[in-house]
Symmetry: C2
Subunit: 332 residues, 2 copies
């Protein structure tokens, strides 16, 4: 079998994760990495083709990719890079700005239809696996409401967006934010109460902040606690620690989450479904899901399909390397 | 929107569950029930059309079903009824004899292709949702092994097959068997050990037996504990109780289960995924999944598809009543 050639577009946490994931997926091979800062990436990767993202004719000719996995940021990179890349080839991305997914889907669908390509958008674990589990729960326990919780383990889950928000505060040298699920809130959902939560009822936020020299602790604490959207709606704790402690005790990208839905069947028999994941590395987990979707995207493209797809539009067989015989025999 | 007309084929526990489920799924209406014992069913159902399964021209004309949900037993009914019914219309079933699924799929695929119909086989929660979760786990955490556990709650899960087996023993008047997962075995999987279990390592079996008058307790206990396949490989406990106690304390069809898979991403970062369900009524839960698959089967048929399908072949959107706009806006 000829291997599927993947081009990684943008080399950050998720881009690194995709590179690692391809090694665990023998039906793929890395075509190369394209980046807006190829010199930076070349310093990190010596044995991999790295090209400038703008050199379109160059990477088409030299990397000959079957599919591009777009690893740019959802805020500024993907809205621009998505429609550009799908003009040239099959794409997969993890666009995770939930409120803008309808708009992004429409943009990508139009661009993909025009070009005759396939684009799988907004996959990873949330959006992605969690979207699928929410939708299946609602279909299999008719009309059930699905809740998402994050940071169930003792350490909680690292939130990149909230860590970034802390780092924008003057006087903050570095910071990381861990989200914790409120166990009582999970139990209320499990009991079938279907509560109407405010965001602050479901999660608390724990901040680890390294200060610049001479920065004002109290003022910074106040700024954090009052930050609208990010921290004001939550019970938030702020811990000031040294850079060394941050680097050793709070390193990595751990994250975990739970989709939970409780309803009933027949005349009031309880029905509870839960999906739980725990990742040592959030970007690596996201990358693995992206790679499975790249497999699906290439298969869809080979069938002559085109346009934008989400995880909800794709049968499980398309993600799997297992044959139909094997699936029927051992996985059903 | 015209409603999808469902014909229930066979009226037992799952058949009853489908009837109840249709009331919670407003896009469906009950066309009627067909049975090999219509008189029995009519005594239970006064306000529903009930016909003899053999009166094919009759039910076609009078019930005008869009889809048949086959609720017969997997051992003797479905292998015969499946290929017969798919000659006439779209079918869905919950064939759960795991080792015979490849053979049943081939039979149903051939019959469905010949007739130009769609047949969705082997759905419910296991096989069904659990098959999907196993396959997705293996695709998203590449190559991971997925384990299934049953009966995690304090009461355990009622096993119909094992209860039936107990009732075949001379001297046993009635019996029910509850399966319990071994918590330490689950923890070993969660820790990423990927153990090679014998069946007896994962589950224990608890029997509640009502004796005929004068039956020999010790002989029956011995027969149970030595029954090959069913009980011999397991740590089994046998409790003799009265019919009244069985009817009150051990009634209903509760069941629950867990799919769990632990692997790693990148250079050894742990990855753990779990799907858990808990059903007050196993046949009602199965019925709800069957009804969602009936929706999918009708949609596939309307697209001109034909042949046999499993849950692994069907995108989530096909199971859902939610529109694309709604899914993109609130469920991704
Ligand atoms: N759906 C999900 O479950 C899920 C989970 C996690 C993340 N995500 C999404 O994935 C996206 C990417 O996340 P990420 O953690 O990989 O973001 P990131 O590390 O900030 O990388 C984003 C982009 O920034 C550039 N970049 C990275 N490091 C740089 C550096 N040192 N200097 C200059 N530029 C640099 C890279 O583009 P160039 O190489 O072109 O410079 C890279 O593609 C996020 O937007 C997030 O929304 C989704
Ligand atoms: N995939 C899953 O997760 C899952 C879960 C649960 C069950 N299942 C499967 O679903 C199948 C049906 O389960 P079930 O609990 O509904 O079985 P059941 O109650 O024994 O019913 C099976 C058939 O037996 C006949 N029947 C029922 N009660 C009868 C009675 N009192 N007298 C004479 N005939 C009677 C009915 O056919 P007629 O009306 O034609 O007589 C009925 O369709 C099982 O084979 C099981 O394999 C699958």
């Amino acid at each position: 079998m000829e291997k599927i050639r993947v081009m990684i577009v943008g080399y950050g946490n998720v881009g690194r994760g995709v590179l690692a994931s391809l090694r665990n997926n023998p039906d793929f091979e890395l075509a190369g990495v394209v980046s807006r800062s190829p010199e930076r990436v070349k310093r990190e990767l010596s044995d991999v083709p790295v090209m400038d993202v703008k050199d379109i004719e160059g990477w088409k000719r030299e990397l000959r990719p079957d599919v591009a996995i777009l690893c740019g940021g959802s805020k500024d990179d993907l809205p621009k890079q998505g429609p550009e890349f799908v003009r040239h080839l099959t794409t997969v991305d993890s666009f995770d700005n939930h409120s803008r997914i309808p708009e992004y889907f429409a943009t990508m669908d139009r661009a993909a239809q025009e070009a005759g390509h396939v684009s799988v958008i907004s996959t990873g674990w949330d959006p992605g696996i969690f979207s699928l589990e929410r939708t299946l729960a609602n279909a299999f326990v008719p009309g059930v409401r699905a809740y998402g919780f994050y940071g169930l383990g003792p350490k909680g889950g690292l939130s990149m967006g909230h860590s970034d928000a802390l780092r924008t505060i003057p006087g903050v040298k570095d910071a990381r934010q861990f989200t914790h699920a409120v166990p009582e809130a999970i139990e209320r959902v499990r009991r079938g109460e279907n509560p109407a939560f405010e965001p602050g009822d479901m999660h608390t936020r724990e901040c680890f902040v390294v200060l610049e020299e001479g920065a004002d602790k109290e003022a910074i604490t106040k700024t954090i606690l009052e930050m609208p959207g990010y921290f004001a709606p939550y019970k938030t704790t702020v811990n000031f620690i040294s850079q060394e402690e941050l680097n050793t005790k709070y390193k990595g990208f751990p994250h975990d989450g739970l989709v939970v839905a409780a309803g009933s069947t027949g005349k009031g028999n309880p029905a509870l479904v839960e999906y739980r994941c725990q990742w040592g590395s959030n970007p690596e987990a996201t990358a693995n899901v992206l790679v499975a979707h790249a497999r699906a995207a290439v298969r869809l493209a080979r069938e002559g399909r085109k346009g934008a797809f989400t995880i909800l539009d794709i049968p499980a067989t398309y993600f799997s390397t297992l044959s139909r015989e094997e699936l029927l025999k051992h996985w059903m």
